[in-house]
Amino acid sequence: MSRQGTSFQTTGWKRLNWEHPEWWTITLSIAAWVTIMIQSLIAAQSLHVHSGHAMTPGLPAPSVSSLLMIVAMMFPMVLDSIRTVAARNLWRRRHRAILEFLAGYTAPWMLFCIAASLAIAALQTQVELPPAQAAALAFGAALVWQLTPAKRLAVLTCHRTIPIAATGWRADRDCFRSGWIVGSSCVASCWVLMLACILSDHSLPAMFSATVIGWMERNRIRPNHRLVCSALLLLAAVYVTIPYV
């Protein structure tokens, strides 16, 4: 019985790996969400102990927190692209191709997040705006951005595929380039949402809402723009009226 069980498990595992090579990307995303939640809990407890303190001790450096945000929020958006890249590679290269795609995808997001964090830090020395109000402003801006043709174009190009060579350095280059193209389009599409998350001090409700909105928009052939706009309006209103979200 136990041998049969093991055999079945092996077959099941192999089948999962065959049909869903993106499984480890989902695992990474879940791990990133768990890490963010633990950090938020630690930060909340620290704030509770040192009440009135403006800083949020325990939060990691901007580059680390940005990477966590990207893995948690953005990796689930590109599961279809990851499956496509895996399917367009030789069997022995599938996971390497996914890794190269993700490296290419993460690069433009990291550049954006680090630039945005530095710009926000510089602005904060000039203007004092609570994180919730800043996030409300950004969600309002996301609503305006949502209505522009540039945003719709960016969403479309998020689904772009390019020819990928089968072997050699060309295959590595094409997988990375494929990720870079999709990542750049994602930045063009969702930069305001990501900005809202950074401005909200990486607040969990903001990040979770932005993920749901982005996912709804990306994984539907005809996204419900009214629903997305309503959700953004609601978020902006929530952050204006409840300053400690």
């Binding site: 089948r15 065959w18 030789l90 069997w91 479309l156 990928i164 089968a166």
Partner: protein, 164 residues
């Protein structure tokens, strides 16, 4: 049987091919399958698919006929047994342009060439390491090209071979 449904890519071209209204060929290097197709190879013969990916163009070119492993120096039209399928170019300009409501990736076609591969294998004419794919412009019954006098170039991003 379930596993045979997972497709496995076994070869693809490294460079795009530009079609300019004349016959053109490309060679697809083929590797031995190492995934699901290798497992199922002994039990059930895998189906073979020829994928023509990322076909882009700016104009309205005519379509192309696709042939597999036409012997050197011979006319593809004389080998109907090697005819893999038709590539219509309807909507190619729109699908190549993100401003037209598409991602800009172009058209994709998947042609089932299982019967052709079996025929070539039976004649000992199937090379498991390379496959030649020939594109021939479609012509009207009168013999003229489908497209305009000056044919629009068509870029074929990649030609690939899948076992499933």
């Amino acid at each position: 049987m379930e596993s045979s449904r997972t497709p496995e890519m076994v070869g693809a071209t490294d460079q795009p091919l530009t079609l300019t209204g004349e016959s053109a060929s490309t060679i697809v290097p083929v590797s031995r399958p190492t995934g699901p197709a290798a497992v199922t190879e002994s039990a059930a013969r895998p189906r073979v698919f020829l994928n023509i990916e990322n076909i882009t163009s700016k104009g309205q070119p005519g379509g192309y006929h696709v042939y597999v492993n036409v012997p050197p120096g011979e006319k593809p039209e004389d080998h109907q047994e090697l005819f893999a399928g038709v590539l219509p170019m309807f909507g190619v300009a729109e699908s190549s342009d993100p401003a037209q409501g598409h991602s800009g990736s172009g058209l994709h076609y998947s042609l089932d060439i299982t019967n052709i591969v079996q025929l070539l294998e039976s004649k000992n004419a199937w090379d498991p390491n390379a496959m030649k794919v020939t594109f021939v412009p479609r012509r009207t019954p009168a013999g003229a090209r489908e497209s305009a006098a000056v044919p629009e170039p068509v870029q074929v991003g990649r030609v690939s071979l899948y076992y499933s």
